[in-house]
């Protein structure tokens, strides 16, 4: 709604806050996707006991590791494509 008020100070405040917000949103979106994927991959679906057993615990830990690794690989790949296509201008240079 910045056009209603005009003036640079507010706009730039708003922009800075929006950027900080976007980064937090990104991280929290990743976390909820990770929770979703790793619960599906690692938790026994029959819920015979309320506690995580050894197997589930180890699986969850490794799942986080691998999820991060996939994240890095995909990010590297998309940057590679971007610089191949555009010779500059990374999609992540928010």
């Amino acid at each position: 709604m910045s056009f209603l008020f005009g003036g640079r100070p507010q706009i730039s405040s708003e922009a800075k806050i929006a950027q900080a917000e976007a980064e937090i949103d990104m991280v929290s979106d990743m976390f909820s996707r990770l929770v979703n994927s790793c619960s599906k991959k690692c938790l026994d679906r029959d819920y015979r006991e309320p506690d995580l057993n050894k197997g589930e615990s180890v699986c969850l830990d490794r799942c986080v590791s691998k999820f991060f690794e996939v994240n890095v690989k995909v990010s590297e790949k998309m940057q590679g494509e971007a610089s191949a296509n555009a010779a500059g201008g990374s999609p992540f240079g928010i």
Binding site: E21, V27, F31, S39, R45, Y47, P50, L52, F92
Partner: protein
């Protein structure tokens, strides 16, 4: 960010946290309902269904705590290593 901007960001974060808490709650309801309730012969939960739901909630809460801890660790490690390659 100056202090005023930080206060604004803070207040937006609080709204987000409330929203996320509600989301965790609703996901628990939905996931544990989907996993534990498979018969509609009765109008009320059977005791078997009810205890399945309880164990399901317990396990998912523990799982989320654990995932959160690992996530923080990895995030910190990655920040130290210079962030995602693209940043």
């Amino acid at each position: 960010l100056n202090p005023q901007e930080q206060r604004e960001l803070q207040s937006r974060m609080e709204k987000k946290q409330m929203k996320e808490f509600m989301n965790v709650y609703s996901n628990l309801v939905q996931n544990c309902f989907n996993s534990c309730i498979n018969s509609f012969e009765t109008k009320s939960l059977t005791s078997r269904e009810e205890s399945c739901v309880m164990r399901c909630v317990d396990k998912h809460l523990k799982s989320q705590t654990r995932l959160g801890e690992r996530f923080q660790e990895q995030n910190a490690a990655m920040a130290q290593a210079g962030g995602l390659p693209g940043r």
